[in-house]
Symmetry: D2
Subunit: 487 residues, 4 copies
C-alpha cells in the first residue's frame, strides 16, 4: 500500500520546494507534483523534512550504580512524538570487557522494544589485544563504525591518552570514526573533591567542578591525538567556547573534526544549578554542565558557520528518586537529562524562528549532517528517492507548551518544562509507517524499529587517509659512511 | 530526443552513488538504474558531476585602457572544454553610470556568442539616487541578485565606505547579495607610488604593493559594513590568511560571510613574480597577487572546513602584447590571468587526488555552493530531477599536460603551462546538449547559451533579515519628567 | 631646601622596596635608607609611586560648537589631587590649519594656568604640504613627538586613509609616533542618521551608533596603515575586544602597536546609557561609548598580559547645560566625561585590590609605560635618581566615596559618583613641590607647571625602523634581454 | 677595593643612558657621571648591561643512561665567557625520591666548581605525602621557589595530570612557581615506536615523533591545570606556535603564564635533522626539536610583544660519543645541545642588530624578566644601586665566528659552529669580580660562585592568589525544605 504526503514544502539540507512525496513500502518512491497513492497524508501548510536523527542517547544505561529510566520503548516513542526517527545509543562493555558481548546485550534490551530505528556507538573503556581484535568485527560484522572514548569518569569509563591513541589508530585502519566525551577526568575528580571539602555538596558543585576550561583542554587533547593517529574525530556534547575554539582551530588547519552541541546547552544556562530548590537543580545535572549565555551564542554561531555540525541530546533520563542518590554529594547525582522528544521543536523555535538558522540548516544539523558523518546518507537523513521513508510533516503552527504531563518520555519531570515551542510534528513516519500523528492518540509500536548497519570508510575518512599517506614523514637516506659506529 | 548517461558514479555535494541519468530536452528527467534513452553517453569508469559554475569572469572587459581578450565565445567554449557549464561575468556601468544600460551593453556583447549559460554580477562603482532606484530593477526585472563593490582601483572603480554602506543597505532591502573586491585602494596607490619611486618598475612591484595586510584590512572593513547594513556578504578572490581570518572571525560571530578563493591562489605562489623573464612574470599579474605557500595551505583548509565556499578564476585574459603596456610601470600591466578552462582539473588534481578535498567537497566548491549562494539551486549546481542537465562526465583517468597549444582559450600563454592534471571532462553537457566531447573535435556553438535569471532573497538572506529585525536596538522610553529642556 | 619622603614602600614598574627618597630642588637626589632632608614627608604605611601621567585630556577644548569646561587650572589641580602629575593634552589646529599656530594658541591657554606639567599631542586633521613641513618643526623645535589622527567625527576632525598613510610615513621619518582615535566615521554617521530616523534620539542612540565592530574595524585599518608606513602606532581609548583583538593580532606578528584603555571603559558599562534619566545618561556620552562587561574583562586581562599598556581618561568635561545641547539629538551631545581626578584611585581599587593587577603593573600602566612610549622616561614615570621628583605618597588606607561635592574638577557631576575607592594620595609632589596634601586644604598653584619637551626616536621606533629597512622589498634584476619592448 | 666601569652606555630593561658604575665589594655602590674607583674597567664604546641569567641548564645531569658532559666548572666558566653570570640548573630527585637529598647531591656536585652564581629548580617526578611535605622545606629552607614538571619522558621523569594538579596546588599554597616541560609523553612514545617500526631510525625520527601539536597540546593542558590550581605557570622551551598560541590565549584571559623560548629554537631550524651526516644531525637532537622558520618568526614576535618573556638555552651537553648511543635508534640519542656560551651573542646579533628587539628588550629577556619571575630582582637582573655587581661590558664591535676551538664549553662540537656574531662581552663581572676579560686569557675560578636563595611569593603570585580567593565559587544556600531526603 502506497502513501503520498501531499501539499507540503519539502525542506532538505540544501533547498526548499513544494512537492508531494510518494512512499511505497519503506522507501520513498517518487518526489514530484500531483502524485497519487493509496493513502494521503496531509502536509498543507507544513514542511516535509527528513526524520530527525539523535546520535547521542543512553537508554536503559547502567551508570553510577543505577540504570537510566528511559527504556528503548518509551525513548523511541518519545523520539517519534518529537519528530525523531532514528537514534544512536551508546553501547557499553560489561564486566567481561567484550565488545561483541556488549552488542548482544544491547540487542537483547532493544530489539523487542524499539518503535523507530536505532544504531549503536561502541564504547572503548579500556585497551587490550582482544578489544583490538573485536573492533574489526564490530565494524565489519556488526555494522558499527563509531567508537566512543570517555576522557572523564575517572575510575569508571575513562581511558588514558595512550589507549586513546591506540584505539584511534585502530579506527583509522578500519575506517571507523572515534568519538570523545571531552573533559579532563583527573581534574574533574580533583575539583569534585575540592568543592566537597569546601562544603559545596549541592548541584552547583557539579557545575563548578566541570568548568569550560576542563572541557576545552580535553577537546584540544583529543584533537591532537586524532591528528597523530590519522583519523577524523567527532566530539560529543560540545558545550563551551573553549572546546568549540579547539575545534575551529583544528578545522582551520585542515583537520577533520566534528562537533556536536546539545539542545540543552543551546537553550539552558548555568543559572539552573543555582536554583534554590535542590531537586530542580539536580534534575539539570549532566556532563558537561550548562554554561553561560556567551557560550550559547558561540554554539549557535557555530551551527550556522559550519564549525559545529550536529545537534543531539545526550538523553539520559534519571528520575527524581534516582537524582536523590546524590543528595549529600553532587558527585553521586546520576548525570543526565532528557531532550529526545523536545530537540526538534526547541531548535526550530529558538533557531529558525529567530533567524539564527535557515530551515535548511535546521535539517542539516538535525539529520543530514549526522547521516553523512555516520555514513548512512542518503538511506537516512534526506528526502531522496530510494531512501528510507523516515519523514516528518513538520507543522510550523502546531505550537505547544512543553510539559511532563503531555510528554511521552517516561521521566517524571522535564528540563524544558513550561517553555513554549512554535512547531511540532503533525505526522512522523518511520520507514513508511505513521508512528506518530498529532492529536490522534498514537501508541507505541514496540519491536517495529530496526538496527541500522553502518559501513565504514565515509568520504572524509577516505580523503584524510589519502592525505596522511601522501604526507607521512620520510626517512632520510644516509650513506653508511656518514653513520658512525655505536657505543 | 532523450539521452541517458550510463554507468557512471554520480557525485553531488552530499554523496556518491552509481546510477544512470536520463535527460529529456534540457532537463534531468530521471536518475536511477538501468535507464534507457535515445542516445547513450558512456560514463563507465567516470564520475557524473554537476557542470562547474565559475562565478567570477571578466570576458571582453574594458579595463585599464584596453579590453580583456577572451570573448564570450572563446570564454564559454573554453569553459565547456574544462567542465564548466555556467559562468557569471561582471557587468560594469559605462560612462553614463546607468546600471540598466550596462546590462543592455553586456547583453549585446554576450547573447550571440555564448556557448553555455551565463549570468552577471552588477558593479556599483559610485552612488546616486539613480543607482539606488535602478538597483530594484536590476534585481526584480533583470534577474541579477548580486552587486559587486571595488574597494581598490582608486580613481577608477573604487568606492568609499559610506557608498558601500548605502549600497549594502539597499542590497539588504532588495534581498540581494553584495560582493566585494577587498583591497585598500588608497594604500595600494600609495605603495605603487613608493615602489615606483624606489625604481621597482617590474611585476614584482605589483606583488609588493598589494601585500596580504592590505587585502585583509579591506575584507575586515567590508564585513563590518555588511554587518552594520544587515546583509550577508561575499568576498571575491580571497587570497590570503589575513582575509580568510577576517572571514572566519565574522562567521564565528554568526555573521553570514562567504569567501571565494581562486584556483590560481590555491596552486601558484608569489615566486612567479620574481621570475627573471619579465613577460613570464607579467602574465601572472592579477589582483590580489599570488601569495606564499602558507597562505595556500590556509585556503585549502578553508575549503574543507567550510570557512571558504567557492573556487573561482577571476578569468581576465590579457595577451602578451596587452601586458606589455606596463613594461615600464607594473601599475600599467593589465590585471588578470586565465583559468576558466583549467579550474576543474587543477582543483581535482591538487585537491581530490591529494586527499585535501573529498569528491563531494569538490562538487560543492565548484558548483553547488555557489548555486545556492546565487539562489539558482537546484536548477543549476546539482544532479536533480527537474534541474537543468548541466552535467559533466568527469574522467579521472583522462590526464593531460596543460598547454596553450591545446587550450581553447584565446590567450597566447597559460599560467598553468606544463602542469599535469589527472582528470578531464569526457563529455560536457549544457542543458542537455553535448557541448564538449573529449577527442571528438568539438566546436563552439555560439548563441546557444542563455542568460540565467536569479531571484532575490536566498535562504541565508532571509534568515539574517529575520535575526536583524528581532535584534535591532530599541529606544529607551523616558518619562518627559526625566528629560530636561534643551539649551 | 631638600625634602625627604620617609618610611614608605617605593613601588615602580619593576619592584617594591622600602626606602626613603631625598629630593633636592626639582629632582630626586638619592634613594636609600635613613636619608635626611630639610623637610620630612611622612610615607609611613604608604606607597611611594611615580606621579601619574594621563596622556589623554581635552582641557578647554573647542568641540561640537562649545568648549570643554575643565580649564587648564582646574584640570591640572584636579589631576594633582588625584595623584596625577603630568597630562598630555590634544592640540587641535584652528581655522588656518597651522600646527605651529595651534601650539601657540594652546600655550597661551595653558601656560599661566597649569599647576603640574603638561605636554601636547598634535592633531593632524587634514593634509597639505604645509602640514608636512610643519611636522618637522613640531617635533624638532616644539618637542612634540606624537600626532593624533581622528578616523571619526566625519566632516570635522576626520581624515582619510591616504592622508593617514602620508602622515604616518612622515611620522616614521621624524621618529614621531602616530596616535589614532579608531572609529569608522563614515559608518558612525550613517548609523547616527539611521537611529535618528527610527526615533531613537536619546543617549542610548549614541551607544547604538558606535558599536564595537565600528571601533575594531578602524583599529585594524590603522594598524595596517602603520605597518605599511613603517611606524609604531598608539591607539587611544581602546574600549572593546574587537579593537583589542586587532592589537593582539598585530603584536603577535611583531608589529609595534600600543593600546590605551580608559578608566571609564574599565569600570563603567553600557547600561549607563539606558538610564531612565536623560541627564544621567547624557553625562556618560563619550566616544567610544561604554561597553558590556565582557569587554571590560578583556581590557583588564590585556593590562596584565601586556597587550594594552596605558590607562588614560580622555578627560573632556562638559557641563550638564552643555550636554543639553543634544536633548533632541544624541549626535549633538558634546562627547566626553571626566576622570582625571579619579583614574588612579579607581584603577587601584578595582585593579590592585582585586588582584587583577600587581602594584608594579599599576605603576606601569599609570605612568612608566606611557613615559617610555612618549620618550620622557626616566625624567618622568619613575622613581629614579636624577629624574623629576613627580611623586605620589599613595595611601592604601585613605579611602573615600567619589563625590562631585569634594572633587576638584570644575564639573557639576561625576560619572563615578558614589563609588568607593580604597586609596588616595596622601601627598602629591610635582618636581619637588607638594601640590596636594590630603586634608590640608591645598590650593591650586597656577603657572608653576611646565611644558615638557619630548625628543623623537624612542627605542621602539628605532628598532622598527631598522627592521623595516632591512626587510624592504628588493627589485628583481632582469637582463634587458628578458624585458620586452613596450606597446 | 672599588671598581668603576667607565664610559659605557648602560642598558637596562627600561632605558639606556651614559653613566659610570661604581662597585664596592660585591655590590653596585653608585651609578652616575664621573665616578672614581680604585680600578677602572673601560666601557668606552660599549654597553653596560646586567649579567645574563640562563634559567635552564642541565650540568652533569644523569639522563638516558649517561651524564651530561658539561660540568659545573666548565659550564659556569663558558657562561661567564658568553656574558652570563647566573644560571639555574634542574635538580632531579634520585632513587630515594627525596627532594632534600637531591638538593644535597646537587650542592655536592656544584659548590666547589661554580665560577658564577647558580640556583636550582626542583623537579617533581612523582607524587607522595613525603614530596608534599618536602616541598615546604625546599621553598622555605633551601630557597628554591620553582618546581619543574615533565609531561614527557614517559617511564622516566613524566608525571600524570592528577600529580601535576596536586603539585601545582601545593605550589600555590607555598607561593612557588611551577614549571613544565610541555610535550605529551604518551603520544611521543607512540610516535617513536611508529617511526622506528617504519624503519626511520635516524635523528629525523626524533623530530617526526615530537611534532609541534604534541607540544602545543601539553602546554594547553598545563595551563588549564595551573588555572584550576590557582597558580601562575612557566613553560620552558616554548618552541612552536602551537604552544605559544596556548600561552597567548591564556594571557588574553588574564591567566598568568610565562613562556621561555630557547636561543636554539630562535635561530636553528628543523632542516638540521635532515642533514646527511648522522653525527651532525644527532648533535642537534633535543626536546622539543627545532622547528620550521614560521615558528621562529612567531617566537621572535612573542619576545617583542611580551607574550614570551625569557630566552634560555636548556644547555645539556652530550659528546659525540654519547650521542652515538642512539646510532640505531633515535630514541636513545641523549637529548640536549649546548648554548650557554652563545645565547647572548646570538640573540643580540639576530635580534637587536636586525631591529627585532630593542636593546632594552634584549636585557629584559636575557636577565631582568627572569629575575623578576624568580623573585630575585633587583639583586640580580638589573643595574641598581645595592644590587649584585653581575655586570657585562658588552662590546657591539667585538664580533667573532662561533667555533668549538675557541669556546670554553667542554663540548667537542657546537651547534652554532661557523655562525657570525657581531658582539661579545669585553668584561664579565660576577659580584664585582672580573671573571672574564676578552683577550686576556681568563681562567675559571671554581668555587667562587654561590648558590642564590630565592624567596617565595613573587608579585604575580600574590596578585593571582588574591584574585582567585575573591573569585572562588560560592555555595548556594538552600532552605532544608528545598532539599529532599536521600535514597
Ligand atoms: Zn558524555
Ligand atoms: Zn553521553
Ligand atoms: Zn577583483
Ligand atoms: Zn575580478
Ligand atoms: Zn577620541
Ligand atoms: Zn580624546
Ligand atoms: Zn625539557
Ligand atoms: Zn631542560
Amino acid at each position: 500500500m502506497s502513501k503520498v504526503i501531499k501539499g507540503g514544502t519539502i525542506v532538505t539540507a540544501d533547498r526548499q520546494w513544494t512537492a508531494d512525496v510518494l512512499i511505497e513500502g519503506e522507501k520513498i518512491a517518487e518526489i514530484g507534483e500531483n502524485l497519487r497513492g493509496d493513502e494521503v497524508i496531509d502536509a498543507e501548510g507544513a514542511y516535509v523534512i527528513p526524520g530527525g536523527i539523535d546520535p547521542h542517547t543512553h537508554l536503559e544505561m547502567p551508570f553510577m550504580g543505577t540504570t537510566a529510566a528511559e527504556t528503548f520503548e518509551t525513548g523511541t516513542f518519545a523520539a517519534a512524538a518529537g519528530g525523531t526517527t532514528m537514534l544512536v545509543d551508546f553501547c557499553l562493555p560489561g564486566e567481561d570487557g567484550s565488545l561483541l558481548n556488549a552488542i548482544d546485550a544491547w540487542d537483547r534490551k532493544s530489539k523487542d522494544q524499539i518503535c523507530v530505528d536505532i544504531s549503536y556507538h561502541m564504547a572503548i573503556t579500556g585497551w587490550s589485544e582482544k578489544i583490538f581484535e573485536e573492533m574489526a568485527s564490530v565494524v565489519n560484522e556488526r555494522g558499527i563504525n563509531t567508537f566512543k572514548h570517555f576522557m572523564a569518569y575517572k575510575g569508571a569509563l575513562m581511558i588514558e591518552d595512550d589507549e586513546m591513541f591506540a584505539s584511534f589508530k585502530r579506527c583509522a585502519e578500519l575506517g571507523a570514526l572515534p568519538l570523545v566525551h571531552a573533559e579532563n577526568g583527573d581534574i574533574v575528580a580533583e575539583l569534585q573533591q575540592k568543592y566537597m571539602e569546601m562544603g559545596i555538596t549541592g548541584p552547583e558543585g557539579h557545575a563548578y567542578s566541570r568548568p569550560p576550561e576542563v572541557e576545552g583542554e580535553a577537546a584540544n587533547r583529543a584533537i591532537m591525538i586524532a591528528d597523530a593517529a590519522g583519523t577524523p574525530l567527532y566530539i560529543v556534547h560540545v558545550s563551551c567556547e573553549q572546546a568549540h575554539e579547539a575545534i575551529r582551530r583544528a578545522r582551520q588547519k585542515g583537520m577533520r573534526v566534528f562537533g556536536e552541541p546539545l539542545i540543552q546547552h543551546l537553550t539552558l544556562d548555568e543559572s539552573e544549578y543555582f536554583n534554590k530548590d535542590w531537586q530542580y537543580a539536580a534534575r539539570r545535572v549532566m556532563s558537561p554542565p550548562f554554561r553561560s549565555k556567551e557560550h550559547q551564542d558561540g554554539l549557535w554561531a557555530g551551527l550556522a558557520a559550519g564549525s559545529l555540525q550536529v545537534v543531539a541530546t545526550d538523553h539520559a533520563a534519571f528520575t527524581d528518586e534516582q537524582k536523590r542518590m546524590g543528595v549529600d554529594n553532587f558527585g553521586m547525582i546520576p548525570n543526565g537529562t532528557g531532550g529526545l522528544e523536545e530537540r526538534m521543536a526547541m531548535l526550530w523555535t529558538q533557531g529558525v524562528e529567530t533567524g539564527r538558522l535557515t530551515p535548511e540548516e535546521f535539517v542539516a544539523v538535525t539529520s543530514s549532517n549526522i547521516a553523512k558523518i555516520l555514513n548512512i546518507y542518503p538511506m537516512k537523513g534526506g528526502i531522496n528517492v530510494g531512501g528510507d521513508a523516515d519523514i516528518v510533516v513538520w507543522d510550523p503552527k502546531l505550537g505547544r507548551t512543553i510539559s511532563t504531563a503531555t510528554a511521552k518520555s517516561i521521566l517524571d519531570y522535564n528540563v524544558f518544562e513550561g517553555m513554549e515551542v512554535s512547531a511540532s510534528p503533525r505526522y512522523t513516519l518511520s520507514r513508511g509507517d505513521v508512528v506518530w500523528a498529532a492529536g490522534q492518540n498514537s501508541q507505541p509500536q514496540p519491536g517495529r524499529g530496526r538496527f541500522v548497519k553502518r559501513p565504514p570508510a565515509a568520504s572524509a575518512s577516505k580523503a584524510l587517509s589519502k592525505w596522511k599517506s601522501l604526507n607521512t614523514p620520510r626517512k632520510i637516506e644516509r650513506d653508511p659512511m656518514n653513520i658512525p659506529a655505536g657505543v
